[in-house]
Amino acid sequence: MALLELKNVSKIYGDLKALNDVSIQVEKGEWVAIMGPSGSGKSTMMNIIGCMDKPTIGEVLLDGVDISKESQKALTDIRRDKIGLIFQQFHMVTYLTAVENVMVSQYYHSMPDEEEALEALDRVGLRERAKHLPGQLSGGEQQRVCVARALINHPELILADEPTGNLDEANENIVLDLFRQLHREGTTLIVVTHDPEVAEAAQRTIVLEHGRVAREVINENFSNQ
């Protein structure tokens, strides 16, 4: 059963069809990249998958629930419980330390647990930087903290928006390695990206153009052992 299914989804702003009758499926445990030029509808699709927007037409099934019909409040709950978000700009709370930033996510989900948060940081190799403020961390380190934050609540789906857009190659590789690790553990990953290299790391790439699915590419060389 697909973890995520978009059925004939359209998002219309006035005359503009940001998404035009899009249907995709993402299986549980799958690693999918979404590519496309600016204005192709990537962001709109990401907002809808991330429960931050609703389609004008069509159904969005996440874990069997049609989120296109849910209220704002219910969407917040679903996002909190099922989705881990990773952003291009990292987005850390500037006055909180690395471990506290991870705990913010715990706080809204359930209960802050510093031990668990430290373990999550350990996973991304930043345990010893736990007490540093975002300003004292490099971009790569900040993004790794964000990965730790995204996975702390064990989400069904990790949704990453240009996760390596602001990183150098070394850090990009570190983040991709983290994704591979998550994938091995069975986490479903959807990565929106411009970067063909990042897209190639995924099992499948969905290419959007003008609000439609232009093509889907299966990565024949995908291996994650």
Binding site: S43, M46, M52, D77, L85, V93, Y108, G165
Partner: protein, 503 residues
């Protein structure tokens, strides 16, 4: 954030300061108003009289700490014989006058000793008297001849009498008795007696002096009455009848208890007439006779008030009571520090107390007090309200700025699963914390502020009201909470999607 805190501190300062003043204003202003004079008047009820005792009892109905002053008054018309003028004279207690009529302006000093007076400016001008001048004042009334009079230090009883002397000519006597009933002084008008010997009874010092210290009734010493009468009669012409009368009278007198005096040699009949006159006066002391008491006073001060008081002469109650031989009071002016309701209650209590006293409020004073107080409190209230409104606007604006500054973070929190409720709670908590902190500082600063205002405006310290501390803090928190509503709405409306795609 600091600005929001600062504005709350300022708002809370003004709040607690003005509220402190608001509460204290009646007390402060009450004290100020007391300088406009008495606000309660005690008068005797019809048919009753006001006395020192009943006044004291009435004053007991008013709590001592509220009593600013209580001044008794007695008004009497006094004459000034030397100028043939008369004016109202008020007997009072000068130490109290200064409390109930603080607007009295005295050139010189308030009288301190007995026989010192305070003269109204108008009278001083008419009479051309100055501080230190001596003034003679007299009180005329009618009364029983035996009434107590003001004989100065020789206060005693005045007896006026008359009797027929030689040739049925009238001899008049004026006798002043001391307190033990003994003759203190004596004046004899015998000018119509036989010139020479007979009229000597009015001038012969040796004869007159022997009366002093004697008690009534009097008689001629026995031998003279018996032996001298005939002899005198022979010496004086046409005296048989009189002599016979005298002899009888002398015999009668001899049988009575009393002091004896020696007659003027050769004027036994006239001497007897003096004694008769004195004795008759003592027995007729119930007759109503005119009394005039006169004393000298020293002007201690000249009073100017701009009012009718300038036409009065003020003296101590004691002086006036002695002069008038009357201890009743006409009125008492009270200056009570209390609000209109309390005053009303006190006045009712006094009037109802069956003391024969009616208490009246001086509406001119109490009403204007109440109206000024009301206006002042309304003003303070208004200023407080405006300041609080400004505080709210300032806090609201600052919080809005904070929200837009933290849009990203709020968006992130929402993206991470923060519900609207938890965003609301966070900001509300932050706002109330600010409010509480600002309230603590504000309450303390506010007390200082109120103290400053009180000392500089009213010239007296303010009492710290512990209750105001929690009240200020709570109000500050409430204001902060209200101010946060719009920023919170703004925060809740932030779209979590802003965190996707770097803006």
């Amino acid at each position: 954030m600091l600005i929001a805190l600062l504005s709350i501190v300022v708002g809370a300062t003004i709040l607690s300061g003005l509220v402190t003043i608001y509460i204290d204003v009646p007390r402060q202003m009450g004290a100020q108003f007391r300088s406009y004079g008495a606000n309660m008047l005690l008068l005797p009820e019809e048919g009753a009289s006001l006395t020192a005792d009943s006044l004291q009892e009435a004053l007991g109905k008013i709590p001592e700490q509220n009593m600013v002053g209580a001044t008794p008054y007695r008004y009497v018309r006094l004459d000034m014989p030397s100028r043939q003028q008369s004016f109202i004279s008020a007997g009072t207690d000068f130490s109290q006058v200064q409390k109930t009529s603080p607007y009295f302006s005295v050139e010189g000093a308030y009288p301190k000793d007995t026989r010192e007076i305070l003269v109204g400016k108008e009278i001083a001008r008419t009479l051309d008297v100055k501080v230190g001048s001596s003034v003679e004042l007299s009180y005329k009334t009618t009364g029983k001849a035996g009434d107590k009079a003001s004989g100065g230090d020789k206060a005693g009883t005045v007896l006026q009498g008359s009797a027929e002397g030689f040739n049925k000519v009238i001899v008049k006597t004026d006798v002043v008795l001391d307190e033990e009933g003994k003759i203190a002084s004596l004046e004899v008008d015998a000018s119509s007696q036989t010139p020479g010997i007979g009229s000597l009874v009015g001038t012969d010092k040796a004869f007159l002096d022997q009366f002093i210290g004697k008690s009534l009734p009097l008689k001629l010493s026995g031998s003279q009455a018996e032996d001298g009468a005939a002899k005198d009669a022979a010496q004086e012409e046409d005296s048989t009848e009189a002599a016979a009368q005298e002899e009888g009278a002398a015999k009668d007198a001899a049988q009575e208890e009393g002091s004896t005096v020696d007659a003027v040699t050769g004027a036994t009949i006239s001497s007897q007439a003096v004694i008769d006159a004195i004795n008759s006066a003592s027995s007729s002391s119930d007759d109503v006779v005119p009394i005039e008491n006169t004393e000298h006073f020293t002007v201690a001060g000249i009073l100017s008030t701009g009012g009718e008081e300038e036409g009065y002469v003020y003296m101590s109650l004691k002086d006036l009571q002695r002069l008038t031989m009357d201890e009743t009071l006409d009125a008492a002016e009270l200056s009570v520090s209390a609000d209109a309701e309390e005053l009303e209650a006190y006045s009712k209590e006094i009037s109802d107390a069956d003391l024969g006293i009616t208490a009246r409020l001086v509406k001119r004073v109490t009403r204007s007090e109440a109206s000024v107080l009301g206006k002042l409190q309304a003003l303070v209230f208004l200023v407080t309200a405006v300041v609080l409104l400004l505080t709210m606007i300032c806090v609201s604006t600052t919080m809005l700025a904070v929200v837009s500054e933290r849009r990203r973070e709020i968006g992130l929190r929402k993206a991470l699963g923060a519900s609207d409720g938890s965003i609301r709670k966070e900001f509300l908590g932050e706002g109330m914390f600010l409010g509480g902190l600002g309230g603590v500082f504000g309450a303390l600063l506010g007390f200082g502020f109120a103290q400053l205002v009180s000392v500089s405006v009213f010239g007296s310290a303010i009492t710290f009201r512990p209750l105001l501390l929690p009240v200020t803090i709570l109000v500050s928190m409430a204001i902060a909470a209200v101010s946060c509503q719009m920023p919170i709405r703004r925060a809740v409306a932030i779209d979590p999607a802003i965190v996707l795609k770097g803006e």
